[in-house]
């Protein structure tokens, strides 16, 4: 067996199959309604994660040994029309392999952590089903070779994240906040879908290695014109902004802290929040084509970074403080992508994910850490005042998390809802008129609603 077939027939499929089969088994068994023993779930999750981890490491080793920078695995062409075709294709390159390794490493570590953390929790099994869905989503999105496969992984990640925010479904706040997260995710999904359609329309392809140019990442040159790149790129930037909580979608980030600590760690500290940045890295050939797009990406990244820095400074709870700190780095990573430092952004992303996961998992140690630092230094910790040059107004802005949620509510949600309410009223009126005068009493709206 030569290196080539080892990569395409063993390692690549293993990387994909490990998490998806895990999800299929766990999810399928859950559907039967019989609870599984905690130990069994844990073993399945850890072994699938480790298998994937080893397979992706092996892939990296083989690629380094064979000097190949681009390994594609195709699972057939599913639709072929004169101007349209749909491939299921996965690509292993300098971008996807590190991210897949990271996903496996963090997901299995978190899985092992959660085994003890969630012991005897009624939703134990549900947590692991969602974690395996999340892992599958992350891996599919990382190694996706076409925009459609990427969308699949993207959806898996979104669905599992929203459901994990609502993990404590018996309380109203998690359900309410999960709904917010879900809405933002859906909007960014819509943008990604539009981008996919636009890409197909413009190039006839959804394959990254053709639509975005041939060479291995990050050297491809897209056949799209600057103008078309800008259109597709803006849609993708919109999608990335929603997923990575960039301005103006940042409001959902602290809301997502409702789930158990390990899920907050893996989603908002480590993987989920970086997915938008990853998308931009993946489509970086588009950025090379359009200067305006680069400026947009950089500006959005910097704006997010400054915003998160300010909002993070006033947070008084450790998880929010960490999540905004996380966001400020994600903003910087996005800005680095916009400026063109692709490798730097990738390294920054990987390092940040690892460090932040550790910090999130240790978040409940805050009191002990404060105490031991005070003891080491021998005095009260000097207070940090980052806002001493800034005004009270800036503080209010930061404390209200930039009024971003309120602005979205006022400028987007309310007009949207009002439009449809108006349509609804018109329809009722129309229906009432058609039904004649006798039916009026039945359709009269209630006084208090």
């Amino acid at each position: 067996m030569n290196i080539e077939s080892l990569m395409t027939d063993v390692c690549g499929p293993l990387v994909l199959l490990a998490p998806t089969v895990l999800f299929a088994i766990l999810g399928g068994l859950t559907l039967t309604g019989r609870p599984l023993p905690e130990k069994l779930i844990n073993r399945m999750c850890i072994s699938a994660g480790s298998l994937g981890f080893v397979a992706s490491l092996l892939m990296l080793g083989l690629m380094l040994a064979g000097h190949s920078r681009h390994v594609a695995i195709e699972f057939g062409e599913w639709i072929h029309l004169p101007n349209f075709h749909l491939n299921v294709k996965f690509v292993f390159d300098r971008l996807s392999v590190p991210l897949a390794i990271l996903s496996f490493l963090l997901c299995s570590t978190i899985g092992s952590f959660a085994t003890r953390y969630l012991h005897r929790e009624p939703g134990y099994q549900r947590f692991f089903v969602l974690l395996s869905l999340f892992m599958a989503g992350m891996v599919i999105a990382s190694v996706a070779g076409t925009v459609e496969t990427l969308f699949t992984g993207w959806e898996f990640v979104g669905l599992s994240s929203a459901l994990l925010v609502a993990f404590f479904q018996e309380r109203p706040a998690p359900a309410r906040n999960a709904f917010r997260v879900w809405v933002v995710y859906r909007i960014s999904d819509a943008a990604l879908l539009l981008a996919a359609v636009a890409l197909h329309h413009l190039t006839g392809e959804g394959d990254f290695d053709r639509a975005l140019g041939g060479g291995p990442w990050p050297e491809g040159v897209t056949p799209l014109s600057a103008y078309n790149s800008l259109i597709v790129g803006s849609l993708l930037l919109f999608a990335a902004a929603g997923k990575s909580a960039l301005v103006p979608f940042s409001g959902w980030l602290p809301r997502a802290m409702e789930g158990p600590t390990p899920s907050s760690a893996v989603f908002y500290g480590a993987l989920s929040v970086h997915l938008g940045a990853f998308l931009l890295l993946r489509v970086s050939p588009l950025l090379d084509q359009s200067l305006i797009l680069c400026v947009l990406v950089t500006a959005l990244g910097l704006a997010t970074s400054v915003y998160a820095y300010l909002a993070g400074a006033v947070q008084t709870d450790i998880k929010s403080a960490l999540s905004f700190a996380s966001l400020s780095q994600v903003g910087l990573i996005v800005a680095e992508i916009g400026v063109g430092f692709r490798y730097l952004a990738l390294i920054h992303l990987l390092g940040h994910a690892c460090l932040r996961t550790l910090q999130f998992l240790r978040a409940p140690s805050l009191l002990a850490d404060f105490n031991s630092l005070e003891n080491a230094i021998g005095q009260r910790l000097p207070s940090v005042d980052r806002g001493r040059w800034l005004s009270t107004r800036a503080y209010r802005f930061a404390l209200a998390r930039g009024f971003l949620d309120a602005l979205l509510l006022r400028l987007v949600v309310t007009p949207f809802v009002q439009t449809f309410r108006w349509c609804d009223r018109q329809e009722r009126r129309w229906a009432a008129w058609l039904a004649g005068p006798g039916a009026e009493s039945r359709s009269k709206p209630e006084e208090w609603s």
Partner: protein, 1017 residues
């Protein structure tokens, strides 16, 4: 509401509130009264267990839990299914249920509601069997789902079931068919089989119950009008004004109270809550949020008119239309809406000494003022958007229509009778024979036996069974206790903590020639202590005592080496602080994460997968900066104690006082072994904001090692011994005292100042140290039976490794189970209970009644400490377990440490007080059974002189019993007098060792007598 407060409301109403100083005082006193209902939990780093319903202690327990439940919207007792499950397991028996009903209802029980149906029979059936209640729709669903009209309840016995069907059949064939009109339901009756008859019996019974229930008029439930406009709006419109208010108030109050998490402190915090809030929001001109616009207008008006907080509260009351009579109740409900935060404002303003950044007194009033402004602006905003015409909030309160009172449908009323009839085997004919008056009294009896009443009886039975087993165990064990050696090889003194019960028992089994004692774990040494690696002094004593002495730990090393080490530590500390702060910054964060971020995977993976190994490696590294050996700076040279220099420590006579007091407390005045140990306790765990709740309560939620260590050092001092000898306590020269620490989580034993042990004692010491370590292994083994992840077949050594891993594991939410299962407190000589397996449920306080003064000075001071400490722990566990979501702080999993003060659920919830689910999960919520070895006369004398102890027992916040000092007789304090108790069983089960008794069991265990074959005859 309790009577006391209703009365108070009435007495205060006579005065109308003006704005003068008198009116201010009245308003403040009402707020003050309302504040008594707030949780009394302080900053979480120092967790003091206290009675969750401390504000209700003037009431009898039962009344207090039920009115507390109404005020706080909580549950007073466990849910009914939990008690029924206990019934099925034999944890509650029928005798208990009968006794509990007799105590509660007395003669009313024998009242006949109908022929062959007494109230007792009715209540007993309702308590033992489960039937659903619910809306008419839920009931319909239930009946369809459970085939209620086709199958007799599965828990009805076969005899009753077949009689029920047979009698229905007889009735149908004789009476129904005999009538002139043919009953249509009986068509084809000749060919019916069993199942047709069964469903006919049920259907005719159901119809009879429904028809007869329809004749009895239903009393509609009275509708009450809520005091807070938010509640009114929520009920009427489904829109929650508190969501708007919380959105702005929670971040602000968190920022105001923050002790150093934020990297940008609240500007103008010194101006106080009210001013700072108005300053922050009142000067804004633009806002994104629609309702904030109204708020900003209102705030700038208040700002410009210089309205004081009190005046603003008065304005709000007027605008909200709160009647003076309702004010106090209104304040209670308003403050309780965010009880955790309001309570923390209260704690920080009153205990400024316990925080780094204090807040001014009066902050709670300012908090209330702001809350009311937010409440009314939000309510106005919602009302304005939802209502067609504009109305003021005061009008809204009176005009908003209340929902029509719902009365029960006839199906809802008939269903319980339908179920009960099956249990008793009543047929439709039996129900139809009831007179209207009988029917009415049955239905009324069912409907007035509400869930709270039912659970009150069930809970009484639940506690009764437990109390009986404790009384039995103590009386029977006191007849033949395990032998206590007259000249023990060594003596060991532990904390009274119920977690040490098993440790002492195992130690006594390993070394039958030793004697153990229990005393409050600060060992009489109330100090502010600073360890060698500590930056600050920590008070180590019960929270009610304010220490007068200071104590520090010093290195034995030379000055240069010590300085070098502390500089290294400081360097490392400052570097880690920089990393910690920098990782939340921009530039530093970018450099850190890019350059070193990937390195974080090493600790991440290692600590998650191999917690125990990683901890070993870490402690090896820490040894570099830790002093090799240390000593306590114990002796003071100046006259007055103080926190620095030579004023640290105690004078020799103070040491003698402390020593004498502890020795007399525990009755160790005549026999001294060659080695005596004072072993304090603490708990080591990772990633655990509630860590302090696992530490020693008698040391203010810290480990008590310096206390035990310093007491040993004091008593080794020949000058102290000389003084004690003159006071009648002769400690032989051959006796040596050693201090130690028991880590209750990792079950490790650390002994201090072992280098100072005389060579003559070394060999004996080594042997005892080995025995202590073996006791630790066995203790770990006994604890492991409670951990589901620890297999039941572990060896003691493996069990020890298991608990060590727990204490070092970042992911472990149950490093240990804390005080869970605590339920007994015994004050008396150990020899009375030695050898009794108490399942880690008993606080054990050593007290020798034969050595006490005639006026019981020792007992008095012992109870003054033991009753509030053990009672507080027991009651906090009771409430946190009974209603974990509200009295407790819910699951640990979503907890988020906030402001270094407490935990929230997620990013913006109320501050959660009480104990987390993971701590109380296996706890049985029962009141403590306190057993004191003394006589009724002495006890009544102590109670008469100590009103708080008297109130605690008379209001039944704990059960009280006295063990006679000279015989195995027990008297139980009930209805204000001591009554003799007789054992309900002949003998206790016994076993050769603790391990033989508990092996293989996870659940609570019966008490047993451990008769070690090795024990001396």
């Amino acid at each position: 509401m309790s009577d006391r407060h209703e009365n108070m409301g009435v007495s205060l109403d006579d005065h109308a509130i003006g704005s003068g100083p008198h009116g201010d005082a009245l308003l403040l006193s009402r707020i003050e009264h309302a504040a008594h209902y707030l949780p009394a939990q302080g900053p979480i780093a120092v967790f003091i267990h206290h009675n969750t319903l401390h504000g209700f202690e003037h009431l009898p327990f039962r009344e207090a839990v039920e009115s507390g439940a109404r005020v706080f919207g909580c549950e007073p007792y466990l849910p009914e299914p939990d008690y029924r499950a206990a019934f099925r397991k034999g944890r509650i028996r029928e005798v208990d249920l009968e006794a509990a009903m007799r105590d509660e209802y007395g003669d009313r029980l024998s009242e006949a509601l109908a022929p062959a149906l007494t109230r007792q029979k009715l209540y007993a059936a309702i308590l033992q069997y489960r039937f659903p209640t619910g809306t008419a729709e839920e009931l319909r669903w239930y009946m369809a789902e459970h085939e209620s009209l086709r199958r007799v309840r599965p828990d009805v016995s076969a005899v009753v079931r077949s009689r029920f069907i047979a009698e229905t059949r007889r009735w149908a064939m004789r009476d129904l068919r005999a009538g002139t009109t043919r009953e249509p339901r009986l068509r084809g009756v000749e060919s019916w089989g069993d199942s047709e008859w069964e469903s006919f019996a049920l259907e005719s019974l159901w119809q009879a119950c429904r028809d007869r229930a329809a004749d009895v008029p239903a009393t509609p439930e009275p509708a009450s009008r809520p005091l807070r406009v938010r509640d009114l709006l929520l009920r009427q419109t489904g829109v929650d004004a508190d969501l708007l208010v919380d959105d702005i108030l929670i971040p602000f109050v968190a920022a105001f109270l923050d002790q150093g998490v934020a990297h940008w402190p609240l500007p103008d915090r010194e101006a106080g809550f009210y001013r700072s809030f108005i300053h922050l929001f009142g000067e804004a001109r633009h806002t994104a949020h629609a309702w904030h616009a109204d708020l900003l207008r209102e705030l700038s008006r208040l700002h410009e008119s210089h309205t004081t907080p009190l005046a603003s509260i008065r304005e709000s009351l007027a605008e909200l239309g709160v009647a003076p009579a309702d004010e106090e109740q209104f304040f209670i409900e308003t403050l309780l809406a965010l009880r955790g935060w309001a309570g923390m404002v209260r704690q920080v303003e009153t205990r400024a000494d316990r925080v780094i950044r204090p807040i001014p007194a009066g902050s709670l009033v300012e908090f209330l003022a702001i809350r009311l402004i937010l409440d009314r602006v939000a309510a106005n905003y919602i009302a304005g958007r939802l209502m067609t015409k504009s109305v003021s909030l005061a009008e809204l309160r009176t005009q908003l229509p209340l929902p029509a009172p719902r009365s029960r449908s006839k199906e809802q009323r008939a269903f319980p009778l339908f179920q009960l009839a099956q249990i008793w085997g009543w047929t439709a004919a039996d129900v139809l024979q009831l007179s209207p008056a009988e029917m009415a009294s049955i239905l009324t009896a069912i409907e007035t036996f509400t869930t709270v009443e039912r659970r009150r009886v069930l809970h009484a039975a639940y506690e009764r069974r437990f109390r009986t087993t404790v009384f039995d165990a103590l009386m029977l064990q006191a007849r033949t206790p395990a032998p206590t050696p007259a000249a023990p090889r060594f003596q060991a003194v532990f904390c009274i903590d119920e977690r040490e019960e098993s440790f002492r028992r195992h130690l006594e089994e390993i070394a039958p020639d030793c004697v153990t004692f229990g005393t409050a774990g600060f060992f009489g040494v109330a100090v502010y202590f600073r360890g060698i690696e500590d930056a600050h002094f920590t008070p180590l004593c019960p929270i009610v005592i304010r220490p007068k002495h200071w104590l520090i730990e010093e290195s034995d090393d030379d000055v240069a080496a010590t300085g070098r080490r502390s500089r290294t530590r400081k360097l490392i500390g400052e570097a880690s602080r920089r990393v910690q702060v920098g990782s939340r910054g921009l530039g530093a964060g970018a450099i850190l994460t890019t350059a070193f971020g990937v390195l974080a995977t090493a600790p991440l993976v290692a600590r998650t997968l191999l917690p125990r190994l990683t901890a070993r490696i870490r402690s090896t590294f820490q040894r570099v900066v830790a002093a090799p050996t240390t000593h306590l700076h114990l002796e003071r040279t100046t006259a007055e104690p103080g926190p620095d220099g030579s004023s640290i420590g105690f004078s020799v006579s103070e040491m003698a006082d402390i020593g004498e007091r502890v020795l007399r407390d525990i009755g160790m005045t005549r026999v001294f072994s060659r080695l005596v140990f004072f072993i304090a306790h603490g708990s080591g765990s990772q990633n655990n904001p509630h860590k302090s709740a696992y530490d020693c309560g008698a040391c203010g939620g810290s480990p008590g090692s310096p206390n035990g260590r310093s007491l040993a050092q004091m008593l080794n001092d020949p000058r102290v011994r000389d003084r004690l000898r003159t006071r009648g306590i002769a400690i032989p020269d051959s006796t040596w005292f050693v201090g130690g620490l028991h880590n209750t989580c990792a079950d490790s034993i650390r002994l201090f100042d072992t280098g100072a042990i005389p060579a003559s004692h070394q060999a004996e010491f080594d042997r005892i140290e080995g025995e202590l370590n073996e006791a630790a292994d066995r203790n770990a083994h006994e604890r492991c039976r409670r951990f589901e992840t620890a297999p039941l077949d572990l060896t003691p050594r493996a069990a020890h490794n298991h608990v060590e891993a727990r204490s070092e594991d970042l992911a472990q939410t149950r490093p240990e189970l804390g005080h869970a299962t605590n339920a007994i407190c015994i004050v008396g000589r150990r020899e009375r209970t030695r050898g009794l397996f108490l399942d880690r449920r008993a606080f054990l306080t050593s007290y020798d009644p034969t050595q006490d003064t005639p006026e019981a000075a020792v007992l008095t001071r012992t109870l003054q400490a033991v009753v509030p400490v053990c009672g507080g722990i027991n009651l906090e566990y009771y409430f946190s377990r009974t209603d974990n979501a509200r009295y407790g702080c819910g699951s640990k999993l979503p907890h988020n440490v906030t402001g270094l003060l407490g935990v929230m659920d997620g990013a913006a919830s109320d501050l959660r007080t009480g104990l987390p689910w993971q701590m109380v999960e296996i706890h049985e919520p029962v009141r403590m059974v306190m057993v004191i070895e003394t006589t009724p006369e002495i006890m009544l004398g102590v109670m008469a002189k100590n009103p708080s102890i008297d109130q605690f027992f008379r209001n039944e916040w704990s059960h009280l019993a006295l063990l006679d000092p000279h015989s195995p007789r027990l008297k139980w304090f009930v209805d204000g007098e001591f009554r003799d108790v007789e054992p309900s069983v002949e003998s206790l089960p016994h076993s050769n060792s603790s391990a033989d008794w508990y092996r293989g069991w996870r659940d609570h265990l019966e008490f047993a007598s451990i008769r070690s074959p090795r024990s001396p005859a």
